[in-house]
């Protein structure tokens, strides 16, 4: 089922920490790929940070993917963190209580200059 790619990802690989930066719109057509990506990353790092800054749309299937990855990481003793959620993404995470489960979101720090 070929559909146009509506989202992108990039992984910054550190020694102990990996940052998965997501951008675009993710819905049910991308949820499985996202699930694979998060599981692969969780298998390879002690801390996984998911940077949501570039995401403009998520749906309930993506919420499920994030919750599932959270459990998977917890089982393996991996810290799994969401950062920089904004707009629609932030509102949906907040209203479903998922952001609170992740221990709140690390907002971009107020420019400490």
């Amino acid at each position: 089922m070929a559909t146009e790619q509506t989202w992108q990802w990039r992984v910054d690989v550190g020694a102990a920490r990996r940052v998965v930066a997501l951008s675009g719109e993710i819905d049910m057509s991308g949820a499985d790929r996202l699930d694979d990506l998060l599981h692969e990353t969780i298998a390879q790092a002690g801390t996984v940070e998911v940077d949501l800054a570039g995401l403009t749309f998520i749906d309930s299937t993506v919420l499920s993917t994030l919750v599932g990855a959270h459990h998977h990481a917890a089982d393996r003793g991996v810290d799994f963190i969401l950062v920089n959620a904004a707009g629609q993404v932030r509102r949906v995470l907040d209203m479903t209580g998922i952001m609170q489960m992740f221990g709140g979101v690390a907002d971009p720090p107020p420019a400490a200059i």
């Binding site: 089922m1 146009e4 049910m28 749906d59 309930s60 499920s64 959270h70 949906v92 209580g97 998922i98």
Partner: protein, 154 residues
């Protein structure tokens, strides 16, 4: 995208609705069409005057209903969007086995799944589910913001 073979159904729907209703969109649902359908609904709702969070919320609500059709409603169906004065309604129909017990409660944050209908309900003026006929029909409604015609006295 021509639907083909469903002309009778379409005609029935049209006559069942009032003269004040303006049809904005009518599309078939398939798994491959979920994303383009969302974009089409967003464009139509924006043209009708929905903006900002209201637009985002309505688009996600409709998308959740469409996703339900693909995942649980037999995989195919139909989306219709229309405007009636300041109300925008989107109806999503499938030919699936029906939802059975309809539970729209918010699951606990740690639960995987079951948030679609709750989101559709929370993000709109109302969610209606009709399981009485063949398949399931779900509708969500949004209220359009007042156009810049009049200021209500304050």
């Amino acid at each position: 995208m021509a639907s083909g073979g469903t002309d009778d159904v379409g005609a029935g729907w049209r006559t069942a609705r009032g003269a004040d209703e303006a049809a904005l969109l009518s599309e078939e649902i398939t798994a491959a069409r979920v994303t383009p359908l969302r974009h089409a609904v967003a464009a139509a709702a924006r043209s009708a005057g929905l903006v900002g969070h209201g637009l985002e919320d309505f688009v996600l609500a409709v998308h959740e209903l469409v996703t339900n059709v693909v995942r649980h409603g037999g995989g195919s169906g139909e989306v219709r969007l229309w405007q009636n004065f300041d109300l925008l309604t989107c109806q999503v129909r499938d030919n699936g086995p029906g939802l059975g017990e309809v539970d729209v409660a918010l699951p606990s944050p740690g639960e995987v799944g079951h948030r679609g209908l709750w989101l559709a309900q929370q993000l709109t003026e109302g969610l209606m589910i009709d399981n009485s006929g063949q398949g399931t029909t779900a509708s969500v409604t949004a209220r359009l913001p007042a156009r810049s015609t009049m200021n209500e006295g304050r």
